[in-house]
């Protein structure tokens, strides 16, 4: 699978850290206020994620989401069987 036509690795190679940072910030900014949890809940969620064994480089291994994005959603929840939040 190659994403020059298809490689996920090449996809990453083609996106800089700045691109990813922009990607996450843009999605966060596009969320409506009523779709987001408040700052305290957000920080509590992220603190919980930061101790999870499934977290790798900002991505949750159980759902594939950037945790900074998943934790922001008011209707989101931890994807683990025993939810951490």
């Amino acid at each position: 699978m190659n994403d020059y036509s298809a490689c996920k690795r090449c996809t990453y190679l083609n996106m800089s850290d700045e691109d990813y940072d922009r990607y996450i910030r843009r999605i966060l900014a596009s969320m409506k206020p009523q779709e987001k949890v408040n700052e305290d809940v957000y920080r509590t969620r992220l603190a919980s994620c930061s101790t999870c064994v499934y977290l790798q480089n900002g991505v949750c291994g159980m759902c594939g989401c950037f945790v900074e994005l998943r934790a922001a959603g008011i209707s989101s929840h931890c994807p683990m069987r025993k939810r951490k939040w």
């Binding site: 036509s5 298809a6 996920k8 690795r9 090449c10 996809t11 594939g64 994807p79």
Partner: protein, 516 residues
């Protein structure tokens, strides 16, 4: 104009190899890790770390073959990293995709066990891009040699006394780009060298699959068939169903192709779920393109191999959209709607109707990646609309394709048109005829009259339909059964005719039984 299908039940064309319904699992995103493999210590029910609900679901659709470990990953995979005690296997940080750790917990033994549990054939893809002839040769020896040798002894030391049976083996992957950016001529020479040392041991006979073209690269097929047809059993083809392509194709003076990609954020292919009729039509048209591509490659293969000894193996295909918002773009996680189901059903009809040459296909990829059968989130699992197509179409596995002619109305959109109806008609070993039909038009129903000769009197034994109210309906973790097959009541038999009332954007499977 009426939609008509004319079938002669006495005229079989070719056997529909069950492997046309094959699958693909790469070390990519959450396909293997946190997909198939959750580890022995997971609280998700598993056996030896392999997720039980996934195994059960894939056994239900009779998964015939599974390709592994890639994909591009195959051309960076060093198999010795994935054997022996897990705590001693090397962990690697993959700097290419965000530093995700590959700890090699899932290796050769785990893959073979997975295939045993699934009841399917393994199809292993070897490393030509960054591996050596010796490395590939020793992998084959490790897996299949029943005598005494350093590699067979190493396998025994790792707990497997008897060799595995391994039939399908790929000599590289996409060596025209991520597998080494080779010209067709250079790869053909390398193929012959690597292939020579991939030995058959004892009674194990490899079915050797060479890397074939990307999409419409007919030069690649020409060169490979000219230089290697004598030594291979299969030639692969990779072609994805998409409307926006990130790839830029550079045509070279020597007829080879080079590939680069557009830069920046990954929004070239459109949303998997948020689309309109323009996008629906685009994907349907792209799906039907598979017919033209196979026809043209098969014509080149016919020139060098008129007896059709070399199979065409479409070992990567399926829809490709932008990843789901909020997920890691490198994981290629996309949702799956009725549009995916209809395009897959149409493509499977194309493969069936080319079963004289197409002997295997592997949709990308089984779990959580691209056009997946199954999506998971934690311990929850969703069967996608595409999964249900595979469940409906499994009746064609190893059946005989029947000769049929089809006349179809057109589905027109914005000045373009495609054939509205496509189908497969097959005869199984019990004498039952199965018809699968697709109506690609999202707006208008279709009456299809199917004439069946040389079959005597027959009854409708069973009928199923897969459709939904909206073209972008999908199954989610909260509503997992929005789209699933239902009993189909829209077919009646009149003499030697079956009259089928197809709703818009629908897939139908009919089972006809002879009255004795």
């Amino acid at each position: 104009m009426a939609n008509q299908i004319v079938v002669n039940a006495n005229q079989t064309v070719s056997k529909i190899n069950r492997n046309i319904y094959g699958h693909f699992a790469e070390h990519l995103g959450r396909c293997i890790y946190n997909g198939f493999y959750v580890g022995e210590n997971s609280d998700i029910p598993n056996v030896d770390g392999l997720r039980l609900d996934i195994i059960e679901a894939l056994r239900e659709i009779r998964i015939p073959v599974l390709r592994w470990p890639g994909g591009c990953f195959a051309d960076e995979y060093h198999w010795m990293d994935g054997i022996g005690p897990k705590e001693l296997r090397p962990s690697m940080i993959n700097t290419h995709w965000g530093g995700v750790v590959e700890n090699n917990a899932f290796g050769t033994h785990e893959f073979m066990e997975l295939c045993e549990k699934l009841g399917c054939e393994p199809y292993i893809c070897g490393n030509v891009g960054s591996g050596t002839v010796r490395e590939m040769s020793e992998w084959i020896e490790y897996m299949t040699f029943d005598g005494k040798s350093p590699m067979a002894d190493l396998r025994r030391k790792n707990g497997k006394e008897e060799p595995w049976k391994l039939k399908y083996f790929g000599i590289g992957n996409e060596n025209w780009n991520c597998g080494g950016r080779m010209r067709a001529e250079f790869y053909a020479d390398n193929l012959n060298r690597y292939n020579l040392y991939a030995r058959d041991y004892g009674e194990n006979k490899l079915f050797r699959i060479a890397v074939g073209p990307r999409g419409e690269n007919y030069h690649w097929t020409e060169v490979l068939m000219r230089e290697a047809a004598l030594y291979i059993n299969g030639l692969s083809l990779h072609h994805y169903t998409r409307v926006g392509d990130k790839v830029i194709i550079h045509k070279c003076a020597d007829d080879n192709e080079k590939y680069t990609s557009k830069q920046g954020e990954d929004h070239f292919r459109g949303s998997a779920t948020d689309f309109d009729e323009k996008d629906w039509f685009g994907i349907m048209k792209a799906a039907l393109m598979m017919d033209e591509i196979i026809t043209k490659h098969a014509a080149i293969m016919d020139k060098y191999d008129p007896e059709k000894k070399v199979a065409l193996i479409v070992d990567e295909w399926g829809t490709w959209f932008d990843c789901e918002p909020g997920t890691n773009p490198g994981f290629l996680y996309q949702q799956n709607t009725l549009r995916d189901a209809v395009s897959a059903a149409a493509t499977l009809n194309i493969f069936n109707n080319h079963s004289d040459r197409v002997q295997m296909t592997n949709i990308a990829q089984t779990i959580n990646v691209l056009q997946a059968m199954i999506l998971t989130e934690g311990d929850r699992m969703v069967l996608t609309p595409t999964y249900h197509v595979y469940n409906m179409y499994k009746v064609h596995q190893d059946s005989e394709l029947l000769n049929c002619g089809i006349v179809s109305d057109e589905y027109k959109y914005n000045g373009e048109k495609i054939q509205k109806i496509n189908s497969t008609v097959s005869l199984d070993c019990k004498g039952i005829i199965h018809i699968t039909l697709v109506n690609m038009d999202p707006n208008e129903p279709a009456t299809v009259v199917c004439y069946i000769s040389e079959y005597g009197s027959f009854t409708l034994k069973h009928g199923e339909i897969l459709t939904s109210e909206n073209m972008n309906d999908m199954n989610t973790f909260d509503v997992p059964d929005r789209i699933k097959p239902k009993k189909f009541m829209g077919a009646v038999i009149k003499g030697d005719k079956v009259i089928i009332e197809m709703p818009p954007k629908a897939i139908v499977m009919l089972e006809l039984e002879q009255v004795k």
